[in-house]
């Protein structure tokens, strides 16, 4: 078991008074190599769930175990390190560093920790997403689909145990979206990574081994 969620609650303080409950008593178990899709309407709390899994925010109550380790029990520093080693994240808006080349963007998470072979591994990852010849290009020279492929390369370059993707095709046109999705699933398939994909696109969700529907903060 790679991911284990038990009784997860998340609420935010509201502008006026009280709190708004976004996630209520969530339970989920994901096995190694599984591909799980979380679907739900906009505002149902999908991104909130992902941000908790990524360790970028803390739950209000409940337990969240990744690789058997309780995330909420980790110190900020420990968490940062854990994330850098185990979790790859893909955002809807790609979020590449605008002043770094494609290759530099991909090697960034490795170089930050002084990996000696960061260059080779980054080149390999770019090759895997089919952009080997775009190494020296800057983000503004890449199309949306290419940018997202670079972002995918950056997420997998650390060989994470789990890949979190938040609407990875949400900012792309249909055809490009399908291409990127194909690439993503191929990569996950060949590397045996665990994937947790958040989307409101049911077609995309169908390609996963399991679909969970989030509605008003609970799985249905």
């Amino acid at each position: 078991m790679i991911l284990e969620i038990k009784g997860l609650d998340k609420s935010f303080p509201q502008a006026g008074h009280g709190r708004v409950e976004v996630l209520k008593n969530l339970n989920l178990e994901v096995h190694e190599g599984e591909k799980v899709a979380v679907v739900g309407q906009s505002g149902s709390g999908k991104s909130t769930l992902l941000s908790l899994l990524a360790g970028l925010d803390r739950q209000s109550s409940g337990s969240l175990r990744l690789r058997g380790q309780e995330i909420s029990a980790m110190s900020e520093k420990k968490l940062t390190q854990f994330r850098a080693e185990n979790i790859g994240i893909i955002f809807q808006q790609f979020y590449l560093m605008p002043h770094l080349t494609a290759l530099e963007n991909v090697s960034l998470p490795l170089e930050m920790f002084g990996h000696k072979d960061s260059q080779e591994r980054a080149q390999e990852a770019l090759q895997q997403v089919g952009l080997a010849e775009r190494e020296t290009h800057f983000p503004h020279q890449l199309s949306g689909g290419e940018s997202q492929r670079v972002a995918i390369a950056r997420a997998i370059v650390i060989r994470p145990a789990i890949l979190l993707a938040d609407e990875p095709t949400g900012n792309l046109d249909n055809a490009t979206g399908v291409q990127v999705a194909n690439l993503l699933f191929d990569l996950v398939q060949t590397t045996g990574m665990t994937l947790l994909l958040v989307t409101h696109n049911t077609e995309l969700a169908q390609r996963c081994s399991r679909q969970m529907t989030l509605h008003s903060g609970t799985f249905q």
């Binding site: 979020y95 605008p98 002084g114």
Partner: protein, 863 residues
């Protein structure tokens, strides 16, 4: 997990800077401008100190000297000279101030008698004979009884080399002129040009009497490696053991000679330093603003880095690296810029500066600028830096939710400004060498910033109101923009207003002074000033003057004395103590020096009692009580005297006790005889002393004839042409004003760079909004008008309030330092307001031109 390669974060930081070239360049230029002024002045100051230090031996002409107001006794000298190491060389020198006359002209001069050996250091150069050597000194001065004069004396007296002048009872042929005299690198503005005579020829003038104040000197050249400080201590101990006049022998070391000369220049430098500080300050405001905008744009990238595994500290560190890079870069540019400014300063200040002065860039100034650049930009940006705390990588998931306001507490905000305050305070105390001036400066700066900031706030609130009511759409939008973008508008306003304040402040103060001294029929400033009048000459002098139909005003007695005890404790200056601040320096200066006492029944019209009661009209010797005295208020503040303190004076070997009865404020620039210490009548009348007084209301030809008449009948009485002196002082202050103005312009330039970059940033930040306006049908000219309205409003108000605050401040300064010499020239004020507004609009126009012309097509691109 391992650490990144050592340069990873700094490389990434540099990379970002290079990619935000526009920001980096502006930041660099802006900060460099402020730092350049700073380095230039600091180097200038250092050069001056060095120059004075290196030349101090030449200025004294010796390593050490003994001076006395009476001729040295053989016996005394033998005792003292026994303390000197063997092979010490010595030479004699006497000097006094007196009037010299030709047939129809007369001038105050300093007559100096010298003999072989002088000067031990430095080269004295004559126009015809070149460098003075023992041979030509003996031939000319000693054997032929000739004189060497300063060229300006010949010019003033309308003489040529070969002509003759009468000094005392003797006529002397002027054999040559002195074109370089190291011992007078700083000759009291050339008021009393010097004439050199042979040492024994001084006797023949008949002036070496008790009537004139003669300074007798023995100059010594010590052998290499002599312990000067130790020698001074031995001599001082011996002198303290003497009694009578021998105990008043003073020891002059070359170190002190150099210090005294630099004092006035030091003051000028202090004030220039403060103006330079303002330039640094304005540059800092600009830099902080630019940095804030830059930082806000970097937030998303910081979030990405954090989501990839960077810690918050690492992100901080990267930004700190950027600030250090920028600050150091700015300092480097400033160093190059200052190489251009520095050579200008000696040109501007040539009247002040000692002969042969050169400015060198000095290494420690450069190092300091580097540190100031790096540390200063950190300190200035600290309040902005604390915003990094609000960066949450979480936002990457919720783009729509936007800034998660991690609210800084009030105290945390205040705390982040604290280093800035401490740094500026430290710097200004250090620059002005004065706790009082430095603190007052920071206080004034702080309160003007708060005041102007509050005003700006009010104006923006008003703009908000206006935006709801007033006229055209563009006008409404302009007001709305101003109100919405507070920090930008306030920064612009502050930069402009502070610049205007500076530009106006100095000339405004100067205006009042100039007005006072140049008014043609104003007789409040006397024409001639007479001193060294002997008591027995009073009668004859009055008679002579009434023949000339002029009246001797403000006649005051003057008695020399020394302060020995305060409230029973002995009052001695610690000579070897090194003065750190100007306050200490002036305290030492006062302690070391003999005091001039006077007595009078009535206060003059330039004096006013500020605390305590009037002095009793006459002293009763039988009462056995101490005499009553009045002290000048600032002097007593410096010396920390209080009302009721008991001071013990040594008045020509008679002990006189006096009690501090009141404090007086004295208007020194009235150029009337004024004294720090006034006795009640009946105490000092019997003590040997001289009189001084002034004569007013003479035009230039009468001035000359009266002066000549006095010199002819009373050769020992010295006459100073006050009108001429004031003219000279004004000329010098003109140069000072010019130098200060230069710095002020530098700071307004820094202010304009701020306006430029703020304007550009604002417009870029609103780009899509502006483009939307275009799409909705606004014409280019409409949008441009909107920007112009914004910056006109800013400019007018900044100019208006900058001028207003400068008027208030200059009035305060004039009231405090120069009594009521204050005059408002509305033309200057109006011109500055118009100028600042025009510049503000112009610069904003320049800054926004390119961005405004960009096509609304970009709307579609930056979705």
């Amino acid at each position: 997990m391992k650490n990144p390669s050592p340069f990873f974060w700094s490389k990434l930081a540099l990379r970002e800077l290079l990619n935000n070239r526009r920001f980096s360049l502006f930041f660099l230029f802006n900060l460099a401008l402020g730092l350049a002024g700073f380095i230039a002045l600091d180097s200038f100051k250092e050069s001056l100190d060095n120059h004075l230090g290196q030349n101090s031996q030449a200025i004294l002409g010796a390593d050490v000297a003994l001076t006395s107001y009476l001729p040295f006794e053989e016996k005394t000298l033998n005792i003292l000279e026994a303390k000197f190491p063997e092979n010490t060389l010595s030479t004699r020198k006497t000097s006094l101030f007196t009037m010299v006359a030709t047939k129809d002209q007369s001038r105050l001069v300093q007559i100096t008698g010298i003999e072989e050996g002088f000067p031990f250091y430095g080269k004295m150069v004559l126009k015809n004979k070149g460098v003075v050597d023992p041979e030509n000194m003996r031939q000319s001065l000693a054997l032929s009884g000739e004189a060497w004069a300063y060229p300006e004396l010949l010019f003033m007296l309308n003489l040529k080399i070969g002509g003759s002048i009468k000094i005392g009872e003797q006529s002397f042929r002027i054999a040559d002129t002195v074109i370089d005299d190291p011992s007078s690198s700083f000759s009291s503005f050339g008021l009393a040009p010097r004439v050199y005579l042979g040492f024994s020829q001084m006797e023949e003038t008949g002036l070496l009497t008790k009537k004139s104040r003669v300074s007798y000197q023995r100059l010594y050249r010590l052998t290499e490696g002599t312990d000067l400080a130790g020698l001074v201590v031995k001599l001082q101990n011996q002198i303290n053991n003497f009694d009578g006049s021998d105990s008043k022998i003073r020891i002059l070391t070359h170190k002190r000679a150099g210090n005294n000369l630099g004092r006035l220049l030091g003051y000028l430098n202090d004030y220039l330093g403060l103006v330079a500080m303002i330039a640094v300050f304005l540059a800092g405001i600009g830099a902080a603003y630019l940095f804030r905008n830059y930082l806000v744009h970097r937030f998303r990238e910081m979030s990405i880095l954090m989501s990839l595994g960077a810690t918050r500290q690492q992100t901080y560190r990267m930004v700190l690296w950027q600030l250090v890079f920028l600050g150091t870069g700015a300092a480097l540019i400033a160093i190059i810029m200052s190489l251009g400014i520095l050579p200008l300063l000696p040109l501007l200040l040539k009247q002040f500066l000692p002969h042969g002065f050169e400015t060198q860039i000095n290494l420690s100034s450069l190092l300091f600028a580097l540190v100031l650049g790096a540390v200063g930009s950190l300190v200035f940006c600290l309040p902005v830096l604390s915003r990094i705390r609000t960066v949450q990588p979480l936002q990457l998931f919720h783009e729509n939710i936007g800034d998660q306001a991690v609210n800084d507490t009030f105290w945390r905000q205040v705390l982040s400004y604290l280093p800035l305050l401490v740094l500026s305070w430290g710097l200004s105390v250090w620059q002005s060498h004065s706790w009082i001036v430095g603190s007052a400066f920071v206080g004034m700066l702080l309160s003007s910033i708060l005041l102007l900031g509050a005003l700006a706030w009010g104006i923006l609130a008003l703009a908000g109101k206006l935006s709801q009511t007033s006229g055209s759409t563009m006008k409404r939008l302009a007001f709305r923009n101003l109100q919405r973008n507070r920090s930008g508008a306030i920064s612009c306003f502050l930069a402009l207003a502070l610049g205007t304040l500076l530009i106006n402040l100095i000339p405004q103060i100067y205006q009042g002074l100039q007005e006072e001294v140049s008014r043609p029929d104003d007789f409040r400033i006397p024409s001639l000033f007479l001193f060294d009048i002997q008591p027995e000459q009073m009668g004859p002098l009055r008679k002579t003057l009434s023949e000339e139909k002029v009246h001797l005003n403000y006649l005051s007695p003057m008695v020399r004395a020394r302060l020995e005890k305060v409230n029973g404790k002995s009052f001695e200056a610690n000579i070897e103590e090194v003065a750190m601040t100007r306050e200490q320096e002036s305290r030492q200066h006062f302690r070391r020096h003999n005091l001039n006492l006077s007595y009078r029944t009535e206060l003059s019209d330039s004096e006013q009692i500020v605390s305590g009661r009037r002095l009793a009209s006459s002293y009763d010797w039988d009462s056995g009580k101490p005499a009553e005295i009045s002290l000048e208020v600032r002097y007593s503040e410096r010396m920390s005297f209080k009302l009721g303190d008991l001071l013990t004076f040594n008045v020509q070997e008679v002990t006189v006790e006096a009690i501090v009865t009141n404090f007086r404020r004295v208007q020194w620039n009235s150029f009337q005889p004024n004294f720090l210490i006034l006795f009640q009548p009946g105490v000092l009348e019997e003590a040997p002393g001289t009189f001084l007084g002034s004569i007013g209301g003479l035009d230039s030809s009468r001035r000359l004839s009266v002066q000549n008449r006095i010199v002819k009948d009373f050769p020992n009485v010295s006459v100073i042409d006050v009108t001429r002196m004031v003219g000279r002082v004004l000329k010098i202050s003109d140069q000072m004003v010019l130098a200060l103005r230069l710095m002020a312009y530098l700071s307004i330039l820094a202010g304009l760079v701020v306006v430029f970059s703020i304007a550009r940033h604002e417009v870029e930040g609103r780009l899509w909004e502006l483009n939307l306006l275009k799409v909705l049908g606004a014409r280019f000219s409409d949008i441009q008008r909107m920007i112009q309205i914004e910056f006109t409003v800013l400019g007018i108000f900044a100019g208006l309030f900058g001028v207003a605050v400068s008027l208030i401040m200059s009035y305060g300064i004039a009231w405090w330092f120069f009594e009521n010499l204050w005059k408002w020239t509305w033309q200057t004020s109006l011109a500055s307001i118009i100028g600042v507004t025009a510049l503000s609009v112009g610069v904003a126009w320049l800054a926004t031109q390119r961005t405004l012309r960009s096509s609304p097509l970009s709307l579609l691109r930056c979705a």
